[in-house]
Amino acid sequence: MTTQDDIITRLVELHDHIEAPATASRQDVLRGERLIRRRRTLSALAASAAVVMTVGIAQAVLPDGGSALVPAPQPSPSLATSPSPSTPTTPSTTPSPARSWASGEWTPERIRAEGSPGDSMPTTESWLSWRQYTLCSAAQCGPFSDGKDIHVALEVTQDGRSALFEVRGGTHESFARHFDEDSVLVQDRVGQGPRRTRLVGADGGVQELQVLEPVPPVPGPGVVVINTAPAYTGTDDVFLVDDEAGTLRPLDVPDEEIREWWPDVDEFLWGVSYNDCRVFWAAAGTMMSRTLDCQAATPIIGLYTGTYPAGWLRPGRMVVGEYRPSGALVAVHASLDRGATWARIAATDEAAVATILGQLG
């Protein structure tokens, strides 16, 4: 028996000896039924909003309030849908011999056919996934090449359907993230204009979000972090997306001071500064801040992402790591009461931090 086989055999032994609890299948059926009811309620609310909007538009356009049909929106010329018979497919990366493109024509189809595929982003439980394709049209492309040299396309796949979308501004100016069960949020820049933000789906649907004025920093559904220059500066910004209204509102926070946001921005908004030992958090619609008692020479702080005791972390609690420039941990700063009080605990061994936090309460 080889070493690897021995390890795997022991894992399988443990797996096979785990005793599963006896649970009636009926309970699983009931939970499934509850989930279906919840989804139907949400769909009905969204459909009602769409009907109200359509009727409103029709009545506004037709002076006699007539019953002419409102035409369906035409698909964007840059959009291509490619039905797939059963499962999400990985598209071919070789150009089709039957198709040629004019020089300088950078369609999403061409970018997909001739470009390099990125990793497919994790499939959600609703089987939504997406993948970016990039194509360099210059002699050489580097990290700061712009949209004239690097061409990007985004393919969204779900339930046997896929759609391809243009993404402008090269990789430097574009960003994509999962938004909900059926859509991907993609941000890019057309020419020198402002950033464009869209929700796109595998059915070819595109909803461009209108940017409105900032709103007070309040966590909740629809609050998302968008990394506006993902590979280079690491700057995170927070926004409130209302997909029913089709709007995007920046949260009124000191973006230029906050480098990194704790990821659960829908539950509790807090983040840390670049290099001046400050922590920020939202309370009653405003951002509070505090300069931590950092003691390391030229300290760097960051969200503490090590191990926590089970159940210890919850909204309102914050833990910041204080590091030397080498990356070595010096201490953690913790607040258990939404920033009212803070404790600095010297800790050079990450393995001990969970125990220390557990002792705090």
Partner: protein, 169 residues
């Protein structure tokens, strides 16, 4: 057969295995039960789609792994290796051996743990694992190698250095 009957038959045949796998993915039997319940609720809600996919196990595997992924994205529910969580076990495995293996698997980072579970407990290929997790083939290979090296180091004291000593790949 209607949806409920088909689903019930599927759950009766697979639930125990899903729970065992979720235990190893989560490192916590209580969280594992939550993840399995969530997975099966989503499966039921998507039963028409899943049964059309001609590979219900594959569909469930993806939901399970991604349910765990979603759970991990919420750091409030971050797991810990600092708290000892007892694993419910059937007789037939020495308790000390079980503890050693359980601790070893829980000490792996979540990404490595998922790769190990998919590769060696679900017998997924490198390509299939990469597809399920949405990561590259190279990442699957490196995480597999790192995980096996960590497991070897962790298990050597319990099972002897001779049996488990080997060249780390």
């Amino acid at each position: 057969m209607d949806r409920e009957a088909e689903f019930t038959a599927y759950v009766a045949a697979r639930r125990a295995k899903l729970f065992r796998t979720a235990c190893l993915l989560c490192g916590d039997p209580h969280r594992a039960e939550d993840v399995v319940q969530d997975t099966l609720a989503r499966l039921y809600a998507n039963w028409a789609r899943a049964s059309r996919a001609d590979n219900v196990d594959g569909y469930v595997r993806r939901i399970l792994v991604n349910s765990h992924y979603s759970d991990r994205r919420r750091p409030w529910r971050r797991e810990t290796v600092a708290t000892v969580v007892e694993l419910p076990l059937k007789p037939g495995l020495a308790l000390e051996d079980a503890d050693a293996i359980w601790s070893a698997i829980r000490s792996l980072p979540p990404g490595q743990r998922k790769v190990v579970v998919l590769r060696f407990l679900w017998d997924r290929s490198v390509e299939g694992t990469a597809e399920d997790l949405g990561i590259s083939l190279g990442t699957v290979k490196s995480q597999t190698s790192d995980a096996l090296a960590s497991l070897r180091r962790a298990l050597a004291p319990q099972f002897g250095t001779t049996a488990l000593q080997g060249e780390e790949r």
